[in-house]
């Protein structure tokens, strides 16, 4: 039941992201004197595990205007799978990654029934907790 509610809220979130992204693409056209886009390709280590989760996440990223999956690297036993995402309208790499991880958390809440237990940045550096604590 909770997964159903999460699924409906995820679909609404994607619709909202599509509308906001389309408005961004349109409104940037009228800023004639500044640079139209700020392209970057960021690397996103995934917390998604199954094929269904990775496929849904890649499709969600691509359907949102302003972000596009350019390449996928498969994971191994020690490394998570990685998406390379082409982002057009983000200010910095951090803000782009933040938006993508937010979308991923909502997606995992839909497919697993609860949010992911690990925080986003611990995926990239597994030794982080040992060093700081």
């Amino acid at each position: 039941m909770r997964r159903l509610i999460n699924a409906v809220s995820y679909v609404c979130f994607i619709e909202w992201a599509i509308i906001v992204g389309s408005l961004t693409v349109a409104s940037r056209l009228f800023r004639a004197h500044r640079q139209y886009a700020n392209p970057m390709i960021v690397e996103v280590p995934l917390r998604c595990v199954t094929d269904l989760e990775v496929t849904l996440f890649a499709s969600s990223i691509t359907i949102t205007p302003g972000t596009l999956v350019a390449a996928i690297a498969s994971g191994s036993s020690s490394q998570p799978p990685v998406l390379f995402v082409h982002a057009l309208f983000e200010d910095s790499e951090e803000s782009a990654l933040e938006g993508l991880y937010d979308m991923e958390s909502r997606l995992l809440a839909m497919t697993r029934g609860r949010g992911p237990s690990t925080a986003a940045h611990t995926v990239k550096e597994p030794d982080w907790e040992e060093g700081s604590s």
Binding site: I18, I19, G21, S22, V25, A26, R28, L29, Y36, A37, P39, M40, I41, V42, E43, A58, S59, S60, T62, I63, T64, P65, G66, T67, L68, V69, A70, A71, I72, F84, H86, L88, E93
Partner: protein, 134 residues
């Protein structure tokens, strides 16, 4: 549903949808490389065409009354448009990267070309290449 509401709805939805297609086309001229052009295409396929489908459904609803068939057709059309266009954009982007299309020089950071700080990439093909040259 009276005439004025139906005509207004169809007009607003249809014109917004077609304007979004126009916006995507203009935006394609403002960006510089193949990846960005695939990227700014998604307002047209993700929002513009579904809006036109909804406009057609509202027109059908007004002209011929409610039919379950046309509602199903509209829902299937919108879902398929979104799914197919996202998978197609993925495929186009992968094809353009793998075929070696030039990426705009101001793309920064470009993690496909340069790893993050502190990561050393080992190229497993490097030795093979030098052997072939000899």
């Amino acid at each position: 549903m009276n005439d004025a509401v139906a005509v207004t709805l169809v007009g607003v939805l249809g014109i917004t949808g077609s304007l979004l297609v126009l916006v995507s086309a203009i935006a394609m001229f403002r960006v510089r490389d193949a990846l960005s052009r695939i990227n700014v295409f998604s307002p047209a396929t993700g929002l513009g065409l579904p809006l036109i489908v909804v406009a057609a459904f509202v027109y059908d609803l007004h002209a011929e009354g409610f039919r379950l068939g046309s509602l199903l057709m509209a829902i299937v059309a919108v879902v398929c448009l979104i799914t197919v266009s996202s998978v197609a954009s993925n495929t186009l982007a992968r094809a353009s990267v793998l075929s070696g299309q030039p990426i705009h020089r101001k793309t920064s950071p470009n993690r496909l070309a340069r790893p993050p700080e502190g990561v050393v990439d080992v190229d497993p093909d490097a030795v093979d290449d030098s052997e072939h040259r000899d």
